[in-house]
Symmetry: C2
Subunit: 446 residues, 2 copies
Amino acid sequence: MALAPGTDTGTDTGTAARTDARTDALARLAEERVDHRFKGLPPDAYGLTVGELTAQRRDLFTGGFTTPVLALSAERLEHNLRLMETYAARHGLLFAPHGKTSMAPRLFQRQIEHGAWGITLAVPHQVRVARAFGVRRVFLANELVDAAALRWIAAEQDSDPEFRFLCYVDSVRGVELMDAALREAGAARPVDVVVELAAGAGARTGVRTEAECAVVADAVQAVPSLRLAGVAGYEGEVPDAGPEKVRAWLRRLVALAADFDAAGRFAAAGLDEIVVSAGGSAWFDAVADVFAELPALSVPVLKLLRSGAYVSHDDGHYREITPFNRVPEEGALEPAFRLWSQVVSRPSPEQAFTNAGKRDAAYDLHLPFAQVIRGGDGAERPATGVEVTGLSDQHAWLRTAPAAELEVGDWVGMGLSHPCTSFDKWQLIPVTEADGTVVDYVRTFF
Amino acid sequence: MALAPGTDTGTDTGTAARTDARTDALARLAEERVDHRFKGLPPDAYGLTVGELTAQRRDLFTGGFTTPVLALSAERLEHNLRLMETYAARHGLLFAPHGKTSMAPRLFQRQIEHGAWGITLAVPHQVRVARAFGVRRVFLANELVDAAALRWIAAEQDSDPEFRFLCYVDSVRGVELMDAALREAGAARPVDVVVELAAGAGARTGVRTEAECAVVADAVQAVPSLRLAGVAGYEGEVPDAGPEKVRAWLRRLVALAADFDAAGRFAAAGLDEIVVSAGGSAWFDAVADVFAELPALSVPVLKLLRSGAYVSHDDGHYREITPFNRVPEEGALEPAFRLWSQVVSRPSPEQAFTNAGKRDAAYDLHLPFAQVIRGGDGAERPATGVEVTGLSDQHAWLRTAPAAELEVGDWVGMGLSHPCTSFDKWQLIPVTEADGTVVDYVRTFF
C-alpha cells in the first residue's frame, strides 16, 4: 500500500526474516493431511496433503465434497482485500485488521501483502497463532494481565527484536499486575501499551474519563516494564451510536492523544511514533474523518485502523452497517461466504430441513439466508419462497412457500451474517472461484 | 454394563480388533504436540506432547494455563458416565450416546467402556471421526442422501465386516437417492435404515403419518441396496412437549414397530434383531417407560437410547429439563464444565469484563453463569452479586452489585448451558480433578 506521509512503518528492516518464517509455516500447512479433522472435504481425498488437493483444482459441486461445506469466494475475498488496502491508503491510515475474525494465517499473510501494518488480536492465544506464522506486528486490543501469557510475550519480545507488540491498559490495577508479571519474568524490553479510552458510560472496556486516563498513564510511566505508546479505543461500543456520537467520541480520543503529547508524556517515553488507534467495521468512515483532523504532534502519529470483518464481509449484519453504505463512491465490500447444505428431509409442503446447523453457520446476529438452490442436474435457481426459520445443532429449519421448488437431495446455498462466528466453525475452508473450481484452502486456528 | 435380556449386542465378536484400532488412534492423540492449535494451554508446554503434559499433572490454576480455559471435571464426568450406564441397564435399554455432543474420541471410548452399544452421530463427517478411532457401531440419526458420503460409507462397510451402520429414511425420494448412489458405488453390503417417524405436525424431520411410513418402508424393501432394520425418531421435537404428549408419540413409534413386524416387513428383511430407537436428554424416562411396554416381536428388539448431553451435563438448559428431576430416586447428573476467564477490565462499580466470549462459551440457550471467583491468593469465593449479562466475540459483560468483590486479574469460574455448543469451542480440554490437578486432555473434532 502507499504509506501515509509522516509514518514510520519500519518495513525496511527485517522483512526478509519475517517473510521466511511466515512462508515456512504456511508451507507446512500445505503439507497437512486431509483427514477427519476437516469437515466437508471429499472422502476420496483423505490421505492427500492439502497442497496435493489444491493442485487437483476440484469442483466444489462435482469433486466429491460432502455437505455441509462452507466456501469462500476467491474473487470476492481478493476484492475485499484490495478495497480496504485502497481505503486505508487513501485516508492516510495504517491498517492492522482484526485477526480474530478469521484466525487464518493464510489470510493474515494476504492482508499483510495487501499493505497491512500488522494484525490486531484479542487474546494471547491468538497472538501465539500469529507468531507461529511469523507475524511481526501485533496489536492486542485488550488489557493483558495473565502472568503466564505475559511471561510468554516477554520471552517472545526478548528473543525477536523485530517483534512489535502493543496492548491496552485501562486501570492502575492492570498496570500493577502487568508490571509484577513482567518483572518476575525478567523481561528485558518494556511492553508497549496504549491507554484505552472507553466509548462512553456503560460501554465496554476502557477508562471512563480523561482524568482517569491520566492517572493510568502516570502509573505506566512509573514502571520501567511498560512504555506509554499512545491511546486507543473502540468506537463500535459507543452507546446509541450514530454518526455524531461516534465522531464526538473519536474527537475525545484524538484530543487525549494531543493532551498527552502536550504534557510531554510521549517524549518522556522516548517514542519515535505515537499510536492512535480505533476502527471496527461499522464506523471506519468516521475514524478516517476524525483522524484526518489530528494536529501535528511532537513525533509522527501512527494512525491505526483495526477493522476485521471486511475480509469476508457478510449477507446480514455487516451488509447493513458497513460504512460503504454512507460512502458508496469509495466502493463496496462483497459477501464472500456461501454455506452449502443439503436437503435431507421435506416432510410437508411448508417445511424442509438441511444438514447444516449451529455447528456450521453463524446464528448470533441473524439466521442464515437461503439464496440459491442447486438441483441434481447442477442448475442453480434462486431460493424463491425458501426461508431459514431456525437452527438446531445439526439441522436448518426451512419454511417453504407453496411455489418453492425444493426436494430432498437439493443443495441450498446460504448467505451468513457475522464473519467472526462463521469462520470459527470451520477449520479448513475451500476458496472457490465463480465457476466452482476450488483454488485454495484456508486453515483457521480457534 | 449389564446387558438387557433378550438383546443381542454382538459384543462377543471382533472386540479385540475394534479395541486395537481405537487404542492405536487414541494413543496417537497423546503424541500430538501442544502448540498454537490449542487455546488455554500453558505457553511453557509448547512443544511437549499431550502425553508428556498429561504426565506432568499440572495444576489448572498455578500450572501456567492461560485464560480463558475450559475445564471438565474428572469426577463429574466419571459420575455421569456411570449413571447413564446404570440407568440404561436398569431399564433394559441399549445405549448409543449422541456423539455430536462432544465429538471427542476419548469420550466415545469411555462411553463404550461404560457399556455403550455404539455411538449416535448426525452427519457423515462425524462418522468419519468415529471410524478413524475404531468405533464399530454407528447410528446416524439423519437421512443420508449425499452421494459422496454414501460412497465412503459403502466402502467402509465393505472393507470392514464388523462395521455396523444405520441411518434414517423419511422419504421415498431419499430412498431413491440412496439406492442410486449405493448402486453407482458398487456397494456389496446393503445399508441398514430405520424409518423415522416425525414427532408431530410441524416437528423436525421424519415421516408425518404411519401410512406414509409404510410407503417409505415399501420403497426400502423394493431396493436391494437398503435393508429395513427398524423404526426410530426423536421425542425431543414433540410440539408443546409434556409427559403425556411425549408418551403418546412414543407409543405411536412402538406401535409402528409392532405393525411393521406383524406385516412381515422385518422377517422379509431377514433381521435377527429389530431396532427401535428414540431418546434425547429431556425425556429418556418416558422412553424407558414406553419401550418397556413393547410386546415381543418376531425377533429380539434392540431398544436403543441416544441421549448425548449427559456426558458433561450443564448448569442451564439441561439442568432444568433432565428427566432425573422427575425421577430423583434414580440419581442426578452433575454439571462437569467450568469455564475460567479473567477479569481484564473493571471500568465502573457496576461493570466488569472478562476475556471469554462467544468463541469460548455457549450462548444459544442461556448466557454463562458466574459461579466462583478466584483471587490472586488462590482462595475461591462465591460469585455473589456477579452476573453475566452479555457476550461479545471475545469478552463477557458482567454486571456487579455494590457488594460484589471483583477486581482486574481475578479469575471467574462460570457454568455453561448446552454441552453441544460448549464442547465445539474447544479442541483440547483439560480434565481436572477437584483439587485442580489436570489428569487428562480431551481432544475434540468439529
